[in-house]
């Protein structure tokens, strides 16, 4: 590597340097006091381990300090506006965390007899009712662990339904602006994916779509609002065409947060849609998970929903965990994960929904859309807008405003870091050059939005004035500056140790 040799980084004010836990170890230290058990002959069948694992030993204060220092190297919604388009970084209420930790929820074993978990099953049933009502769909499967997992669930339901009627279709259509999970999911269901181009309005090209639609197409996967932050305004016509061709309509609900309480996907003609509880209903992202991805299903698909699910009978609530226990007419296609879904996330999502209520959820969607359009309106002359508004909950810019400046979208984003913001989503969607996708969410005050917009404007001006070096050097005021991703990928070092 050809970086200049420099003294190692040191503490600077509140920014502490912190090595790996493996470098802080002392033999015999332990952060948990456990009483040594009595000596007895083990029953391990001769499989007792001989050598040491090599785990470091630390006391509790060392561990607390280590992770506290690490946390201080992260940007988070709690610290500032987090405009990461398509990711929905809205406020995560602490009430949700508190309730998820009630022992009556957190300390329940998934295999307890149903009679001992009536409240938990009631909670799942209640959340299911909210989701069905908000989407206008007759059924929901609660088990998928995340959005992409929900997609897999929905597409498997589609394939199961088609196979049940003896229909062996081979292709799935998805717009070129789709999230990468859509084609990856279709492939995991054994389908070939055909990409449909976008038109000059940032929406699915209806003629190209209709031309691709034939009796070999199993499903159309559409994200709506789409990844350009626009509502697919021809969706009812698309749904009609899909059904006329005997195919089914998968809606990617990643952006449901724009329309919750404003419109119901069930009224738009879809057959299924996953809901990212960690986006729309504010269960925390936690640095990349865990998520939760329930899937709402039409009458056509509901009989094929995977196990398990909750039913409400004369004796209260119970879980259906096996096909043989299922009601007549149910043909579950299998099981998506261990046990019964991301229950801890259900508690958080329901607490969020009940806090907002029917009125607050509608207002939240409305405020999210208002905030994005406000950003659009105020920045359309400084940045460049590939598609006219109005937008939904996020606004897409492209990099034409940087033409001739020797500054890239990445450079502009990195300069935003030095100005105190997490960058927007960049280089996605792929349908515009140098994309910058801004999702301010409903969690920001006008004052906060104005400051953010002013910052983007200032940086935009600075870029136009040609101060390329400023952008190329950024970020300067971060725990680490730009990192060498090429070296990381060419000679991967994926764990600590003397391997490397």
């Amino acid at each position: 590597m050809d970086h200049p040799a420099r003294a190692p980084a040191r503490h600077q004010g509140l920014q502490m340097e912190e090595g790996l836990i493996f470098e802080q170890s002392g033999d015999g230290r332990c952060g948990v006091d456990l009483t040594e058990p009595p000596e007895l002959d083990d029953r391990l069948g001769g499989l007792a381990r001989d050598g040491a694992i090599g785990l470091p030993g630390l006391s509790e204060p060392q561990v607390v300090r280590h992770y506290t220092r690490l946390s201080q190297k992260n940007y988070a919604i709690d610290s500032g506006l987090y405009p990461l388009g398509s990711c929905t970084m809205k406020h995560n209420p602490r009430l949700n965390e508190k309730l998820a930790r009630l022992p009556g929820f957190a300390d329940l074993h998934p295999m307890q007899p149903d009679s001992t978990v009536q409240g938990a099953l009631e909670l799942i049933d209640t959340l299911a009712h909210w989701l069905k009502t908000l989407t206008g769909m007759p059924a929901v499967d609660m088990s998928p662990a995340a959005g992409a997992h929900g997609e897999l669930c929905g597409m498997m339901a589609i394939r199961s339904a088609l196979e049940a009627r003896g229909d062996a279709r081979k292709r799935v259509l998805a717009p070129d602006s789709a999230h990468g999970t859509n084609p990856a999911t279709a492939a995991a269901c054994g389908y070939r994916v055909q990409s449909i181009p976008s038109n000059d309005r940032g929406r699915v090209d209806l003629d190209a779509f209709k031309a691709a639609l034939d009796e070999d197409v199993a499903a159309f996967m559409l994200t709506n609002p789409n990844t350009c932050g626009l509502f697919e305004d021809e969706i009812i016509e698309q749904a009609q065409a899909v059904h006329d061709a005997g195919a089914l309509f998968y809606c990617d609900g990643a952006n449901f947060n724009a329309i919750a309480g404003i419109a119901r996907p069930g009224d738009l003609g879809i057959d299924c849609m996953h809901i990212n509880l960690h986006k729309t209903f504010s269960t925390p992202h936690g640095g990349g998970g865990p998520g939760s991805g329930p899937v709402v299903l039409s009458e056509t698909l509901a009989p094929f929903a995977p196990l398990p699910w909750v039913v409400h009978g004369a004796d209260g609530f119970s879980l259906v965990e096996h096909a043989a226990q299922a009601e007549e007419g149910a043909f579950p296609f299998g099981r998506m994960k261990g046990f019964h879904g991301q229950f801890g996330m259900f508690v958080r999502a329901l607490a969020y929904m009940m806090s907002h209520g029917a009125d607050g959820l509608r207002q939240a969607s409305s405020d999210a859309v208002l905030a994005a359009n406000y950003v659009l309106a105020r920045l359309q002359d400084t940045l460049s807008l590939p598609y006219d508004g109005p937008c939904m909950h996020e606004v897409l810019f492209d990099d034409r405003f940087l033409d001739g400046s020797d500054i890239t979208t990445l450079d502009y984003a990195k300069a935003l870091i030095d100005a105190g913001y997490h960058p927007m989503t960049i280089y996605f969607p792929l349908v515009v050059h140098g994309a910058l996708l801004v999702e301010p969410t409903e969690s920001e005050s006008k004052q906060s939005l104005d400051h953010f917009i002013d910052t983007l404007e200032d940086l935009g001006q600075r870029a136009k004035e040609g101060d390329a070096d400023f952008f190329h050097q950024a970020p300067k005021h971060t725990p680490r500056r730009r990192l060498d991703e090429t070296a990381a990928a060419r000679q991967p070092v994926l764990r600590w140790g003397d391997r490397g």
Binding site: H3, A5, F22, G31, L34, P37, L40, L44, G45, R49, I53, L55, G57, Y67, L70, S71, Q72, K73, N74, Y75, C87, E97, L99, G104, H109, P110, Q112, S115, G119, W130, A146, H149, M156, G180, A184, A187, A263, G287, G288, P290, L307, A324, G334, M336, K337, G338, G344, S355, G357, A358, D359, A364, I417, S445, R480, R481, A487, P492, R495, W496
Partner: protein
């Protein structure tokens, strides 16, 4: 509404700046026929007190595992989580951050996941681990996909003593793909001859260790048999605390380990969110699914961490990705990692010894009862009892008395009558002597 900062005045100013006279103009692209004109039939907004009351009432209807002598396992084990774990993972900088796409301002998440990868590789005895998956069962399905990619074969042999949910998830995940699943029959307590099921079309054999019935078996010969036939050995682990005491799957020749990591740092949560651990050999790393963190340096030459080898993933590879997975189980992985850091080598092995000692003591006491037979020869903290009556109604009876006695095997395998009398009993450090006395006494009465 406490979560919404905009005032009516703000909204009016913003609409004016946009140049429209109302929100209707911003929602104009939604077909008018589908636009709701009023509120949905759901309750209106509520204050914290009301929400706490409503959800607290639901929580109060449950029998909390901590309020009862509790011996449930079958893939989810109740362990004590040190207070520091939950305090640290609730720091907003961890809790409310996204996937670390901007490494300069995400070093906290990146470094902690790099440490997690190292810990996961160490305890499984393999070279590298990813930054986590949804849970053990889905990690197991991903391992099967991966074995098919590596071997370019599609026959998958599943042990009869693999957790039924793992078997079902693997079967579901491969349902529309070329894989052919060959599931061995279930005979608890008996050694399976899985080596005899391997042929030259076999991509992998999947076994659980300790197995679904708690039995521990040496996997070395099976690993050799797999490798001789050009197949891979996938080892599922549902109780990672066992790895504090027993030989690691990697040491016995496993190529991929798919484990449930919930036991460290994470609550029972009625089954989720949990934590999939996924580890493999160096030579297969480019076929590995999921997110990976790698070490590098920044422009000043300082060590730092980044997401790496992303070209395997769906956002770049799309339909050719190794997996459709997008999220990991980040916060659960952090909790795991903090708990394991607190334990360290000494604490982790001592915790495992405590679990084993309690299990040995309880197994022997229960096996002395008339009508109770211990099925296992070797076990860690979970064992199987054969009773003289069906286990499911017995468990329900004891639950009515406030004792969570164990998991009847029939709950997971209802179709096999020969398993109806089997009860899985798990014992962890959370069980007191009084809890164990209560179980022994009530079992003696119920049998």
């Amino acid at each position: 509404m406490r979560y919404l900062p905009l005032t009516e005045g703000d909204r009016a100013e913003m609409l004016a700046a946009i140049g429209v006279d109302g929100m209707g103009a911003l929602f104009k692209d939604i077909p008018e026929s589908a636009r709701l004109t009023g509120l949905l039939d759901l309750p209106m907004h509520s204050g914290e007190i009301e929400v706490e009351r409503a959800l607290g009432a639901m929580a109060a209807k449950n029998l909390t595992a901590g309020d009862a002598p509790s011996f449930l396992g079958a893939g989810a084990y109740r362990h004590h989580v040190p207070a520091a774990v939950d305090a640290l993972i609730q720091r907003g900088e961890f809790l409310t951050a996204y996937t670390p796409y901007q490494p300069e301002i995400s070093q906290g998440t990146l470094q902690s996941l790099f440490e997690f990868q190292t810990q996961a590789a160490m305890i499984t005895g393999l070279d590298v681990a990813n930054a986590s998956m949804y849970d053990g069962a889905t990690a197991c399905a991903e391992a099967v996909y991966m074995a098919s990619r590596i071997t370019r074969r599609h026959r998958v042999v599943l042990s009869g003593a693999l957790h039924p949910h793992y078997r079902e998830v693997v079967a579901t995940a491969t349902r529309f793909l070329p894989q052919e699943i060959i599931a061995a029959p279930t005979f608890p307590g008996q050694e399976e001859d899985l080596a005899a099921m391997i042929d030259n079309q076999c991509a992998c054999v999947v076994v659980q260790y300790p197995d679904f019935f708690g039995e521990l078996r040496d996997l070395t010969a099976l690993a050799d048999a797999c490798h001789d036939a050009g197949a891979l050995l996938i080892v599922a682990v549902t109780e990672v605390v066992a790895l504090g005491l027993v030989r690691s799957p990697g040491e016995m020749g496993a190529d991929i380990v798919a484990a449930e990591g919930k036991s460290l740092g994470n609550a029972l949560n009625f089954g989720g969110p949990y934590l999939g651990l996924f580890a493999c050999r160096d030579r297969h790393v480019r076929q590995m699914p999921g997110r990976l963190i790698g070490e590098t340096t920044d422009v000043d030459g300082n060590r730092g961490w980044v997401l790496t080898l992303a070209t395997r993933e769906q956002h770049i590879r799309r339909e050719k990705a190794t997996s459709n997975i997008c999220t990991n189980s980040g916060l659960c992985a952090l909790a795991f990692s903090i708990h394991l850091s607190l334990l360290g080598e000494d604490g982790f092995t001592r915790l495992a010894r405590i679990n084993h000692a309690k299990a040995v003591t309880l197994a022997d006491r229960l096996a002395e009862l008339d009508g109770v037979e211990l099925v296992n020869n070797a076990f860690f903290n979970e064992f199987t009892l054969r009773l003289t009556r069906p286990a499911a109604p017995l468990v329900d009876e004891l639950a009515a008395d406030g004792i969570l006695a164990g998991v009847p095997v029939s709950r997971l395998c209802p179709d096999d009558d020969s398993l109806a009398d089997l009860l899985l009993v798990a014992v962890t450090e959370t069980a007191t002597d009084a809890d164990m006395d209560a179980l022994v006494d009530s079992m003696a009465r119920a049998i």
